[in-house]
């Protein structure tokens, strides 16, 4: 521990980044609806403070070890051996940074757009940020579960209060879908607690489980995480939720919430039920490939921009789950397996930036035209050249253009898949065509061409606030695309350790 660390070593850094936004949210809530500009400023300050506090997690992170870092542990509910235990490793730390970064953008993006009950809106996002960071940092499964569920309430309200026409259907569907998946996980967790006497994730990872138990537990976890990711065929809540959610809600949903599903697979499914994961990897691979191919085609025919991006999210997340579960076919000891897992992780982070950017771009258009229909647009480049440049750039990234972050993850997963099976890799690689087709076709219809109607003619280009958000995201997409090494290096020891763990049978 060098001297620069000692300053932070005493601070309960993870607790701070979890509770800072929650406290900020409560402040914002009590600042009231009378003073929306004050509420905005408080929210921005707290979100930036939180982000600043997450930076030491990155700079002081020791990427030579797979052990949990910044560990905090306090007895919480002694009778059930539940601990308030926090810690990060190479797979959770990048996601925490992604969360705190994205929340700032969301707060800024709401600046002028949200006028109705702005304080409640911003407070919901801040509280949700705390819950999301908490679920990434939790080392106790009940703590994880509590954060995992608690983030549903603010999102439920965000979609329901500030959403579109069909918001109530969408938000109820969102809540019920996610909840039904996660209660199965709860039963599995309690079952394992009764066998192992502990709710600590590490103890669950190390306990012995028979094949039958593993399969049932695996399916319970699948229920929770497949809905969250979402994987085909339990994805249907996502297009509804995305379409109806306000821009900020869509961004958080796509950029962070979906990642918690992927994170859950890495933290729970693979290490706790390695043998069942191996036995049932065909199931996940099939579901993932269906997402990539079939949902890719579904995205192609969408008329609604948000729906199109929602479906493209499902297809991209299919890559993540494919990367995570193809490892058994490659051989968990080999280099390719690490490539697959790291590819999945890079894809998660990259998708966080790109999908966030895409939803923000659509939000920019929606704020001006109040339409998400592709048919209502055309020739936007003529009136909004700066915006058009950004949108085309993000669309390219979404399609997986080399040099952008979208390419790195997909390429790594495809490359790894080749080591497993040619046809799996072949089907996965169709995304490069399909992704390009649906994204660029949308961009062509919306951005390029002649000015379609008077509404488009009257459009004003993006202001400083919108420019700032999109520029930050563009930098992130480029940086990760050109030089992904820092991210990969951070997660490498954790991934190797995970692979070692899952190559040992629990039977």
């Amino acid at each position: 521990m060098d001297t620069s660390m000692t300053m932070f070593a005493d601070l309960p850094l993870l607790s701070l980044v979890i509770w800072m936004p929650v406290i900020g949210g409560i402040f914002v809530l009590f600042s009231g609806d009378q003073n929306p500009s004050g509420a905005r400023k408080i929210a921005l300050v707290f979100s930036i403070l939180t982000f600043v506090l997450t930076i030491p997690l990155w700079t002081l992170f020791d990427s030579s070890t797979a052990a949990m870092q910044f560990v905090e542990k306090h007895v919480w509910i002694a009778d059930f051996n539940i601990n308030y235990a926090l810690g990060v490793d190479g797979i959770s730390m990048p996601l925490i940074l992604l969360t705190s970064f994205t929340t700032i953008l969301v707060i800024i993006s709401a600046w002028e757009v949200i006028q109705y009950r702005a304080s409640q809106y911003l407070a919901a996002f801040l509280i949700m940020e705390g819950a999301m960071i908490g679920s990434f940092a939790a080392m106790d499964s009940i703590l994880f579960y509590i954060f995992f569920e608690a983030m549903l309430i603010p999102m439920f309200l965000i979609i329901g209060i500030w959403g579109g026409v069909n918001r109530i259907y969408a938000t109820l569907k969102f809540f019920l879908y996610t909840f039904i998946g996660s209660v199965l996980m709860l039963v599995a967790l309690i079952y394992m607690y009764n066998k192992s006497g502990s709710f600590a994730i590490i103890d669950l990872q190390n306990m012995q489980l028979s094949m039958n138990e593993q399969i049932l537990i695996f399916l319970a976890f699948l229920g929770a995480f497949a809905v969250k990711v979402p994987m085909w065929p339990v994805h249907t809540w996502l297009p509804d939720a995305h379409v109806e959610a306000p821009t900020g809600g869509s961004v958080i949903l796509a950029a962070i919430m979906l990642k918690i599903g992927g994170y859950g697979f890495l933290r729970f499914s693979l290490p706790i039920t390695p043998d069942a994961s191996q036995q049932l990897d065909w199931l996940i691979i099939t579901m993932s490939l269906t997402a990539v191919v079939y949902i890719g085609f579904v995205a192609l025919v969408q008329q609604d921009m948000k729906k199109l991006i929602a479906y493209s999210s499902i297809a991209h997340m299919g890559f993540v789950t494919l990367g995570f579960f193809i490892v058994y076919r490659i051989g968990t000891e080999s280099q390719g397996a690490a490539l697959a897992l790291e590819g999945g992780m890079v894809q998660m982070v990259s998708h966080g930036f790109i999908s966030g950017a895409m939803f923000l771009s659509v939000g920019v258009l929606y704020d001006r035209m109040h339409s998400r229909q592709i048919a209502d647009y055309g020739g936007v480049v003529n009136t909004m050249p700066v915006f058009a440049a950004f949108m085309v750039f993000f669309a390219m990234a979404n399609a997986g253009l080399p040099g952008t972050s979208g390419f790195v993850g997909e390429f790594m997963v495809i490359l790894a898949s080749f080591k497993a099976n040619f046809w799996i890799a072949f089907l996965a690689a169709t995304t490069l065509i399909l992704g390009a087709a649906y994204t660029l076709w949308m961009v062509k219809r919306v951005v390029f061409g002649d000015i379609a109607n008077d509404n488009v003619r009257a459009l004003k280009d993006i202001g400083k606030r919108e420019f700032l958000i999109l520029a930050l995201l563009a930098i992130a997409v480029l940086a990760l695309g050109l030089y992904p090494d820092p991210l990969v290096n951070v997660m490498h020891p954790t991934i190797s350790n995970l692979l070692q763990h899952i190559s040992v049978s629990k039977l």
């Binding site: 439920f156 329901g160 209060i161 809540f175 709860l186």
Partner: protein, 484 residues
């Protein structure tokens, strides 16, 4: 017992204080003019405080048990904890009710006196350790409740509810008595400890007779708790009663009913655990299923909460049927937290007036967040807690109960319970939706009876659901200690 012995009266001090104070309140109230009715309320609250003190004063040391009146009256840590919870909930009821009663023009001292007598009945039930005393307490509670339900005598629905409760309650009491009489016939004793010894002897020789008697006891108990298929009185009574009485029925007597279940099933009939666990399992699944499903179609908020209560009773029974220390303490935890949670829901409902009338329908809450965001938030917390969404205490209550059934190798029952609770989530969310997502209709002016003391208490009540959800340890420790 051959010779008469002066029983030790001290353990029954809380009951005696309560009786004396209830009579005192009754008399004092007679001499008060209507505008000084607040004094009755104050006196009633003071009574609760005094009785709390008496309960704590006579509480045995941790783990110790005091019995008196020839073993028919028991004071243990279970009794102390449950009694204190009853006082607390009754205190909330008394405070929340005031403005509501004024509104309905039934702000009378008798309401509080009846409430106090009902508390006395519950105290006796909680401390009863013989069939006779248990029945006595139960009847005192029921009679007080019948009168309270009919308190708004000009209301047809209240009278109907009271009538229904009376007839079905009498039926349930009859069934319970029938079971008691058969057990008396078998064992020759009304004392629960003596009975448990007889059952241990006869469990193998006389199983049919014992199971026959047990069935009546369980049916009587289910009636009182409101478990399916003995729940029919509950929705009508919840809907028909004045909301303040619904609040009372929905909270404190559940705690007493839990005590009754413990005294009967655990203290007295532990030897028949295999039989009653089976019965409770069927009752629990039926209650959770029917309660949750039927609640979906309700439009009346009180009726919806009635069905929700039925499903929560199913959850409590899950803990009971596990019959382990974990199971019983988790059922107790569930009962206590449910009582606190439902206090918030009915408490908020009582304060809300819609178009000049007291809110009854779910639709009456439309756009509550627009007009009264604070009250909407308080109610939303209670609803999320009932649905079992973290970080509210309802989640933790469900967690411990499910843990209890999984611990006794009934994973499927845990699965059924969580899946049915997802159905339950839907109708709670629907109310949140009405409050938060819907706009108030034209001419639907929502007003809230905004009294500062009620507001503070209600806020503390509601926020305690989150606090207890974050820090459940101490309450859980009490519940575990009660069954040590």
């Amino acid at each position: 017992m051959t010779s008469f012995m002066q029983p030790n009266l001290l353990p029954a001090l809380p009951e005696m204080v309560m009786l004396a104070m209830a009579c005192l309140v009754l008399v004092v109230d007679l001499f008060l003019p209507q505008q000084k009715r607040g004094f009755t309320v104050l006196l009633s609250v003071l009574t609760l405080a005094l009785v709390s003190w008496a309960t704590l004063f006579t509480a045995p040391a941790a783990g110790a048990v005091i019995t008196t009146f020839g073993g028919s009256f028991i004071v243990d840590s279970l009794a102390v904890t449950l009694k204190l919870a009853v006082y607390l909930v009754t205190f909330l009821v008394f405070v929340y009710s005031r403005d509501y009663l004024k509104d309905l023009d039934i702000y009378k001292g008798e309401y509080y006196v009846l409430g106090l007598f009902a508390v006395l009945g519950m105290m006796i039930m909680i401390s009863a350790h013989s069939f006779l005393l248990l029945y006595l307490g139960l009847e005192l509670l029921s009679l007080s409740l019948y009168a309270m339900i009919a308190f708004n005598r000009d209301s047809v629905s209240s009278s109907e509810a009271a009538m229904k409760y009376f007839v079905l309650g009498a039926l349930a009491s009859g069934l319970l008595l029938y079971g008691i009489s058969i057990f008396y016939g078998i064992s020759g004793t009304l004392d629960l400890t003596a009975l448990s010894l007889v059952i241990k002897e006869q469990a193998s020789t006389n199983p049919v007779m014992l199971a026959f008697a047990l069935t009546f006891i369980v049916v009587g108990l289910s009636f009182k708790l409101g478990a399916v298929p003995f729940h029919m009185w509950l929705p009508d009574v919840y809907q028909g009663s004045p909301t303040s009485v619904t609040l009372f029925i929905g909270s404190a007597p559940k705690i007493a009913g839990f005590a009754m279940a413990i005294r009967l099933l655990i203290d007295g009939l532990a030897g028949l655990q295999i039989d009653w666990s089976m019965m409770l399992m069927m009752l629990a699944v039926a209650s959770m299923a029917l309660g949750n499903v039927v609640a979906i179609v309700q439009t009346n908020f009180k009726r919806m909460l009635a069905y929700s209560t039925i499903s929560h009773v199913g959850f409590i029974m899950l803990g009971l049927l596990a019959a382990t220390q974990t199971g019983l303490s988790s059922a107790m935890f569930y009962t206590l937290t449910y009582a606190i949670t439902s206090s918030v829901a009915f408490g908020v409902l009582m304060l809300i007036n819609c178009k000049g009338f007291n809110a009854q329908e779910i639709a009456d809450l439309k756009g509550l967040n627009d007009t009264h965001p604070w009250y909407a938030a308080l109610l939303a917390i209670a609803l999320f807690s009932m649905a079992g969404v973290p970080p509210t205490v309802g989640f933790y209550a469900k967690l411990v109960v499910i843990n209890a059934v999984i611990q006794v190798d009934m994973v499927w029952l845990g699965l059924v319970a969580v899946l049915l609770s997802v159905i339950g989530l839907y109708y709670y969310l629907r109310v949140v939706k009405v409050m938060y997502f819907d706009k108030p209709e034209d001419g639907q002016a929502i007003t809230v009876k905004d009294a500062l003391d009620v507001k503070i208490l209600l806020s503390a009540n509601s926020l305690s659901l989150i606090l207890l959800g974050l820090f459940p340890s101490f309450l859980m420790a009490w519940c575990i200690a009660a069954f040590a």
